[in-house]
């Protein structure tokens, strides 16, 4: 069979994605399922940048695989979700900043486990070095209890630096993605496109298989990944909100942590934390039971590491909350801070970046769709 031979691409998955998009573009049966196929139809040829855009637009619901008459074992071997998953994961590596750290993506699970372990060890060692055993294993309550173990300013300095570094690296990655797909910077400032992307991301509109739900173990659309992702995402947002409110408490109202259980930062953090336990656990379980044809097994480590970090951040935080009035608080605080620190540092070098690139892809898609709708009929 002399199928369409893709021109030069940077990698085998990109070449395969080009072949598939050519197949799909001459079929188009899947165009109602998600954003990927309408975006594909706006193009006739697929350079690497186009494919990286489409790959990051894909939410991996699996519907197009289950619905495809040309999926394996058919000779055309069309498996869009798996191929785009590989392209997507490669794109994370490609956009990593600084480029010297890109190899972290190669053995991501190992790297993240190492960094997390080192960070936890460093915080424990620091706590031990700077504090008397009596303080470290003492019982502290009331405002400023945490800061008796690590001064507030030191905490702000360490975490502020890690957070700012993560933001910088993520922004540089986004810049690389935006340049690669060839979209002008101005698109990211269009209110209409941004708002549409916010709605699409907030509802995971593209993870519902076109309405029935996404696919897991077989052709039954029973997968609950959208629900678990909501738990994870909104749990994360609530935890972020908890930290933000606490910062306002501290600097704005002069109220010093720890706060009572009914106070806003604790309520937000607890509810969010529970979401961050249920969500990642559910997503990981779904990943395990998913049809191997839909999985990108080579990147299992990356996905598992990110989910594990979210889970551990929440678990250590909730344990700290529960046991903060006991002698275990010192060690739990070191543990929690170590995990959070590692989480910040590894944000730009792990699965976290999917949210950024996918959101950016949705912004571009919103713009493209609007332009298509405004274009006179037949001019496509």
């Amino acid at each position: 069979m002399t199928l369409h031979t893709p021109p030069g691409h940077a990698s085998a998955p990109l070449a395969e994605a080009d072949r598939l998009m050519t197949v799909c573009n001459s079929c188009r049966y899947c165009e109602g399922l998600c954003a990927v196929f309408p975006a594909m139809e706006m193009r006739r040829s697929f350079a690497d940048g186009d494919l990286n855009y489409l790959a990051n637009l894909c939410h991996a619901c699996g519907a197009c695989y289950v619905d495809c008459q040309f999926a394996p074992p058919h000779a055309f071997q069309v498996n869009v979700p798996q191929t785009l998953a590989a392209v997507r994961a490669d794109s994370y590596r490609r956009y990593a900043w600084p480029a010297a750290l890109a190899p972290i993506f190669d053995r991501n699970g190992l790297w993240i486990a190492l960094i997390a372990a080192l960070a936890v060890a460093a915080f424990i060692a620091g706590f031990v070095a700077w504090n008397d055993a009596a303080v470290l294993f003492g019982t502290h309550t009331g405002p400023g209890a945490f800061y008796r173990l690590m001064p507030h300013d030191a905490m702000v300095a360490v975490f502020g630096a890690a957070f700012l570094y993560a933001i910088l690296a993520l922004a540089m990655g986004l810049r690389a993605f935006w340049r690669d797909i060839g979209e002008p910077a101005a698109t990211l400032a269009e209110p209409a496109s941004l708002w549409q992307a916010v709605k699409d991301a907030a509802t995971l509109r593209n993870l519902d298989g076109g309405g029935v739900g996404c696919y897991g173990a077989d052709e039954r659309p029973t997968d609950n990944r959208r629900l678990y992702h909501h738990f994870t995402f909104y749990g994360f947002l609530l935890c972020f909100a908890a930290t933000s409110v606490a910062t306002l408490h501290h600097y704005g109202l002069g109220r010093i942590a720890p706060y009572p259980w009914w106070d806003l930062p604790v309520v937000l953090g607890t509810v969010g934390g529970i979401g961050l336990l249920i969500g990642p656990a559910g997503l990981l379980a779904a990943k395990w039971t998913r049809d191997p044809a839909l999985r990108d097994d080579a990147r299992f480590g990356m996905d598992a590491a990110f989910l594990a970090m979210l889970f551990l951040t929440s678990l250590t935080g909730l344990l700290l909350l529960m046991l903060r009035a006991t002698p275990a608080m010192g060690m739990l605080l070191a543990l929690h801070l170590g995990v959070v620190f590692a989480f910040f540092l590894t944000m730009p070098y792990g699965r976290f970046v999917h949210g950024l690139y996918r959101f950016a892809a949705l912004v571009r898609y919103a713009k493209e769709r609007r332009q298509m709708a405004e274009a006179p009929a037949g001019s496509a």
Partner: protein
């Protein structure tokens, strides 16, 4: 053997169990291996749209149902796999349909495409039922979307399956499974025991063994014989060797042959098939939609000798789409080449294979293995005959040739801007027209005009009743869903009648 449920239209099975795990009171469970040794009320042969609609309708009417699909699970559903829409009458616009499509307009369209070769009674019945089927099929889990990109002309008349034909099939199978319909894949019916129009049993070959499967009712919904090259040769001779089959290799017409041999009345032209021109590089079977080419209007079509043979500008899509398969089939070697120049390349839907490209007509001919001088002469003659006009491929425009035989009566533009492109095309066979005659109950009619006792048919195997020739987009699925549902209901009703008659006699 478990007790049979009382079969009565007034006493259907408890459909509220939909979606719950468990077993039906009549012993049908799902997820377990289908038992071929037990006796079913209704045997459905085939696994596409018509078969599943029949199975679901019969099951919902209280019958126990076994579906036998010859293909493996992935290839289940025959041509339904490759479909994308169905044509149903409707009185007003819907979320996915841009306007009303009345029964009368549907009937007019059918008359036009068939040239009047339709059973008016059955055609009107089908069209009337299609209205209800539009809702019914959605109640079976099938989802629709607005018309697909590149097919906007069908947005008012045709309902497009979200995700295409395989998605539609998946939905029907899930519903059938939840209702307790037993399904067996890779189970080919190789023999039918029929006595005087009465079905007794089928011989089923599966996993290397043959089983005798008895049932009270038979519904055949297993397609035509388009994948049976030997049979196609009866109408087309050796040329059929060069045909490509657009669907799976499983539509071999085995059951159709057995029914006709058992005395069922045939209908439809036994030699005819629906043939379109598809990319000659497509695989022998199952290339589906993505190997079709709709660029004839943008250039000229030459045969193996580099000669034109038909007016490329005769008619607009979809009519021209359906004539070129036949035209190419009549050319030497059953191959032809669509030749066009650079400006046309992006004016039609992309297809799977890239065009063959060269900087001159001569070089293109060499790549195509054609006589360069012959092709150059053909293009030169064509170019010289092109008259000025305003090109518009969406209407029958005024761009035409003069003094050329055959002429190109519309969309004629000089082929002069390199690079030049060509697509090799061969006949791609979609379906065949020969089938079994049925009545308003989808019950088979025997050669002597009597009704079969317990045999029904739906889908392509009886499409010839309403579609004597030609095609209208989406009508195959209408025939399948409507007559499938009718057959399922009728088979269950016949079952009720017999059981009740027996009970009354006892």
């Amino acid at each position: 053997m478990p007790a049979r449920p009382r079969l009565d239209a007034a006493n259907p099975p408890d459909i509220s169990a939909l979606g719950r795990r468990g077993a039906w009171p009549d012993g049908n469970s799902w997820g377990s291996m289908t038992d071929l040794s037990r006796r079913y009320d209704v045997l459905v042969v085939g696994g596409g749209n018509a078969a599943l609609c029949a199975a679901i309708a019969a099951r919902r009417a209280g019958a126990s149902v076994l579906v036998l699909e010859a293909a493996p699970k992935f290839y289940r559903g025959g041509n339904t796999r490759h479909t994308r829409n169905m044509r149903c009458a409707h009185d007003s616009a819907t979320e996915t349909l841009s306007g009303p499509y009345t029964e009368e307009e549907f009937f007019d369209d059918l008359l036009r495409v068939t040239g009047g070769r339709t059973d008016e009674d059955l055609a009107r019945l089908m069209i009337a039922e299609s209205k209800e089927v539009l809702d019914w099929i959605q109640a079976q889990g099938v989802r629709f979307q607005p018309s697909l990109g590149g097919t906007l002309s069908l947005g008012r008349t045709n309902s497009f399956f979200l995700g295409g034909g395989r998605a539609m099939l998946n939905a029907l199978y899930l519903t059938a499974e939840r209702l307790g319909v037993a399904v067996r894949y890779e189970a080919e019916v190789v023999g039918l025991d029929i006595a005087d129009g009465m079905f007794l049993a089928a011989t089923v070959r599966t996993e290397g063994r043959e089983h005798r499967v008895e049932a009270d009712m038979l519904i055949t919904a297993c397609g035509g014989f388009e994948a049976n090259i030997e049979w196609l040769k009866q109408g087309w001779g050796e040329a059929a060797e060069n045909f490509l089959i657009r669907g799976t290799p499983y539509n071999r017409g085995t059951v159709l042959r057995m029914l006709l041999d058992a005395g069922v009345q045939p209908i439809g032209d036994p030699t005819q098939c629906h043939a379109v021109a598809i990319d000659a590089r497509a695989p022998k079977f199952d290339g589906g939609i993505i190997t079709r080419l709709d660029c004839v209007v943008f250039g000229i079509v030459v045969n193996r000798d580099g000669q034109r043979f038909y007016d490329e500008g005769e008619d607009i899509w979809p009519k021209r789409y359906a004539i070129w398969g036949r035209l190419v089939a009549q050319q030497p070697g059953q191959i032809a080449y669509i030749v066009f120049d650079a400006p046309a390349l992006t004016q039609f839907m992309p297809s799977l294979y890239p065009p063959i490209t060269a900087d001159s007509i001569r070089a293109l001919a060499e790549k195509l293995d054609l006589d360069p001088r012959a092709l150059e002469a053909t293009v030169a003659r064509f170019n010289a005959a092109v008259r000025p006009g305003t090109f518009d491929h969406t209407i029958l425009d005024d761009c035409r040739t003069e003094g050329l035989d055959p002429p190109k009566t519309h969309w004629a533009r000089r082929i002069e801007t390199p690079p030049f492109h060509a697509y090799p095309v061969r006949p791609g066979i979609t379906f065949t027209y020969l089938g079994v005659r049925v009545d308003r109950e989808a019950r088979m009619v025997m050669a002597d005009g009597t009704r079969a006792a317990n045999m029904f048919a739906a889908g392509e195997i009886m499409a010839g009743n309403v579609l004597g020739q030609g095609y209208a987009a989406g009508i195959g699925m209408t025939i399948g869903s409507v007559f499938g549902r009718i057959a399922g209901r009728a088979a269950a009703a016949e079952l009720h009648r017999r059981r009740n008659a027996r009970r009354d006699a006892a």
